[in-house]
């Protein structure tokens, strides 16, 4: 058991470091690691590295980590393998908020480039509150069926809002579609800075509930009988996961697949225990998105593909392979 855990953590950390290294050093300009700390050797490389490449890779890692850990927590909470961070509709709320700023050309003075992200978070926050209030109105114990159905209702409503905005747009169409497909390009350090506190808080909330997630897999009644304050844990996990998702979507658009599949892959390889599933998903999500971003900007260089295309493009076959291997055992 201990050996397996050691292997799980060391391989995930190794994967993350490798991804990070590749992500930083490979690109339209190959940058040797030696220029990392030394500006004198190659001032141009130093500048690309610290101003463009580094924030991009870190943002990709943060977004991947946020979505993956939120997905792992939601799947456990909702006891549903098809759940992902987008299930309860918070991401659609974030998208509506973000797209509105593009559509209406809103730009708030002083915060300028932050506007999209701020509006995205606002959208996410409003959606989360509405979903929770609505679900509570239906049944006070927040049954998982209620949550999933409420999420479906809100997601589909908000999705039609997105479609409406897209359909009505003219010259804003390209930025809207680009945003919807998801990207971590040209965001700079400011977006990393925005996401960081939410990543920290959200992940911490989820991690605090790791044992409760393990117990709640056996149903609310059994969890109650085992001494879990089910309602409190549900709220905590919903809020933690939504904070992560809302923030991630606000800075990068809706990047699919990571939140659904990384927890699954991690679970299949390393097991269901949330004490380890959460941190491992966190790391693997970061690695996957860094690699996907790397591919999206190098494969048809100098053009860039939307990262959302790549995640599924790579993720699906990897998932299929692991699934096959696992079942054949």
């Amino acid at each position: 058991m201990k050996k397996k855990l050691l292997l799980a953590y060391s391989s995930s950390i190794f994967l993350l470091l490798i991804s990070f290294w590749f992500g930083v050093s490979i690109g339209s300009v190959d940058i040797p690691l030696s220029s990392l700390w030394n500006e004198e050797i190659n001032p141009r490389a130093f500048s690309i590295l610290w101003n463009i490449r580094m924030p991009r890779v870190i943002l990709a890692g943060f977004v991947g980590a946020s979505l993956a850990i939120a997905g792992a927590a939601f799947q456990g909470l909702l006891r549903n393998p098809l759940a992902d961070p987008y299930t309860i509709g918070v991401s659609s709320g974030a998208s509506v908020g973000a797209i509105s700023t593009i559509f209406f050309g809103i730009s708030i003075p002083f915060i300028g480039s932050y506007t999209i992200a701020i509006f995205g978070m606002l959208g996410a926050f409003i959606t989360l509150i509405t979903v929770l209030i609505f679900a509570r109105l239906i049944d006070r114990s927040l049954k998982m069926e209620t949550l999933i159905l409420t999420g479906v209702i809100f997601s589909s409503f908000l999705a039609s809002c997105i479609s409406l905005l897209t359909a009505l747009s003219h010259e804003e169409l390209k930025p809207i579609v680009g945003w919807l497909l998801g990207s971590v390009a040209m965001r700079g350090w400011s977006y990393v800075n925005i996401l960081f506190p939410f990543l920290l808080i959200g992940s911490f909330i989820l991690w605090l509930n790791r044992r409760e997630l393990n117990v709640m897999m056996y149903g609310d009644d059994r969890a109650t009988a085992l001494g879990v304050n089910v309602k409190r844990s549900k709220y905590a996990i919903l809020i933690g996961g939504s904070v992560l998702t809302g923030a991630a979507v606000s800075v990068s658009g809706t990047i699919g697949f990571v939140g659904l599949v990384v927890p699954h892959m991690t679970r299949m390889v390393w097991g269901t225990d949330h004490r380890h599933l959460l941190p491992l998903s966190f790391m693997n999500g970061a690695s996957l998105l860094i690699i996907c971003d790397l591919i999206s900007r190098t494969i048809v260089a100098p053009e860039e593909l939307p990262i959302g295309v790549i995640t599924a493009f790579i993720g699906a076959p990897v998932f299929a392979y692991i699934f096959y291997k696992q079942r054949r055992k």
Partner: protein
């Protein structure tokens, strides 16, 4: 330990459980019985604090459960709900470890030696230790159920609430789990409240039973005070019959099916008799209810074939059971459907009589050997045991007898036999008094269990009169045949 005071409640506005009170002491096993939908599971949910009662109180060690926080409550009481499932695959060990949740606290939960011991012990008691690293999805329903019971045991609380714990289990594992729980109750003072579907299991293992009907208590008490034929029939609306357990002073019940088998007007007569070289057999086309003191398949049961077999004087009585079984198989009879007797008399000389009676008819078949006849009132003077010389009597009735009628029928037949010995002046050679029978007499009373129902079979009932007359006449005749044979 657990005190439930007048609780009522349910879902929405309609109360499912009404005004239930009971007390369970430490080291006691209470079974909750009742038909589907009577509120058993709702009651368990209210006791466990999952569902709030609309009125009434649940106290554990004198403390109302709402005064305890969830973790404290979980340390005192374990609840194992009816259905257990998990969407994601976990290993057996991980699943059992979940039971330690209430004992873990702190920012970084540390796994103590106590936790480890409790988990290992729980897996040992439920016999799942050998699967500890297997994923739950690869286990059968019964194995999985045992894993969840292990999870409940790992919680190490003094009070265990179970909802049909033996669901999905085969009888070996039902027994294993309930034996184990019973042992924990008796030896370590565990207190258990469990819902049961199976009335017989509940009766066997519980100290007290609570029978529910439509949300209220119908009966409460020891198993024999609750498992009462009429009461169970009323509550479950099903025909049953209660009987004694062979080993324990706990009543057991049997379901009485309501299908009338297509055996209309089937009856037996002397034409069912078949005589072989060394036996006489009565072969019916359907099983009869039989009470007998035979060699093979004695006691109460349902059998279609009765045989009475001649054995030589020097027959080895030591291996009689296996030898007789062998004999039945050799002759082509079914060992599980045949009652077998034996005698040293030639069975070709058996006396067979048929009597018509108001209720139907009655057949009597007797073989008599009176070489060893004794007077039962002087039997205590004898020291040696002798086995030769036997009167075998069969009474076969076209009619339906109650259980007491069977017993009375045997008494009546025995009295008639003694009377026949008296008429024929058969003597006990040692005491020189009139004999009452032989030391190895066998008697069989069989009934088709169709037609008229007869509650009693004493000497003055219609059937008793026929038994008396038939057995007496046949036995007298058989003794006379025996005497003639002896004179030759």
């Amino acid at each position: 330990m657990l005190k439930v005071e007048q609780i009522s409640g349910g879902y929405h506005q309609t109360p499912i459980v009404r005004d239930i009170s009971f007390l369970v002491n430490k080291g006691e096993f209470l079974g909750i019985l009742g038909p589907n939908g009577c509120g058993k599971s709702t009651l368990i949910k209210m006791i466990s604090g999952i569902l709030k009662p609309t009125s009434g109180k649940v106290l554990i060690d004198g403390i109302p459960i709402e005064k305890l926080n969830p973790r404290q409550l979980a340390k005192k009481m374990t609840v194992l709900p009816q259905m257990q499932s998990n969407t994601f695959s976990t290993t057996v060990r991980e699943t059992v470890e979940i039971g330690r949740y209430p004992h873990q606290s702190g920012f970084f939960s540390s796994w103590s030696e106590e936790d480890e011991e409790a988990v290992i012990k729980a897996m040992e008691l439920t016999d799942v230790l050998k699967y500890q690293d297997t994923n739950l999805e690869f286990l059968s329903g019964g194995e999985r159920q045992r894993v969840f019971i292990a999870q409940a045991l790992a919680q190490s609380s003094e009070l265990l609430l179970l909802d049909e714990p033996t669901n999905y289990l085969d009888i070996a594992h039902q027994k294993q789990i309930l034996d184990m729980i019973r042992k924990e109750v008796t030896e370590h003072g565990l207190t258990v409240v469990s819902v049961f579907h199976d009335i017989n299991l509940a009766s066997l293992y519980c100290d007290h039973l609570l029978l529910m009907e439509a949300g209220s208590v119908k009966a409460y008490g020891e198993p024999h005070e609750v498992i009462i034929e009429q009461q169970i029939m009323d509550v479950y609306e099903a025909r049953i019959s209660t009987q004694a357990h062979p080993e324990q002073p706990k009543p057991q019940m049997a379901i009485l099916p309501d299908f009338e088998e297509q055996r209309k007007e089937k009856s037996v007569s002397l034409s069912n008799i078949q005589k072989g070289e060394d036996y006489i057999a009565f072969i019916a086309e359907f099983p009869l209810k039989v009470l007998s003191s035979a060699v093979h398949n004695a006691g109460l049961g349902w059998y279609a074939t009765f045989i009475n077999r001649t054995v030589p004087q020097e027959y080895d009585i030591e291996n009689v059971k296996t030898e007789f079984l062998q004999y039945i198989i050799e002759k082509g009879f079914s060992p599980t459907n045949t009652v077998g007797m034996m005698t040293a008399v030639d069975t070709k000389k058996a006396v067979m009589k048929e009597y018509l009676a108001p209720f139907g008819s009655l057949i009597v078949i007797v073989t008599a050997g009176i070489g060893g006849a004794i007077d039962v009132s002087h039997a205590y003077e004898r020291t040696a045991y002798q086995t030769i010389g036997t009167i075998n009597t069969w009474v076969i009735i076209n009619g339906k007898l109650s259980e007491e009628a069977f017993v009375q029928g045997m008494m009546t037949a025995t009295e008639a036999k003694s009377k026949a010995l008296q008429t024929e002046k058969v003597m006990d050679k040692l005491s020189n008094t009139i004999a009452t029978g032989t030391p190895t007499d066998s008697l069989l009373v069989a009934a088709t269990q169709q037609g008229e129902f007869m509650q009693y079979a004493g000497p003055l009932t219609e059937v008793g009169k026929m038994i008396g007359k038939g057995v007496y006449e046949a036995t007298v005749e058989a003794i006379q045949i025996y005497k003639r044979e002896m004179e030759r």
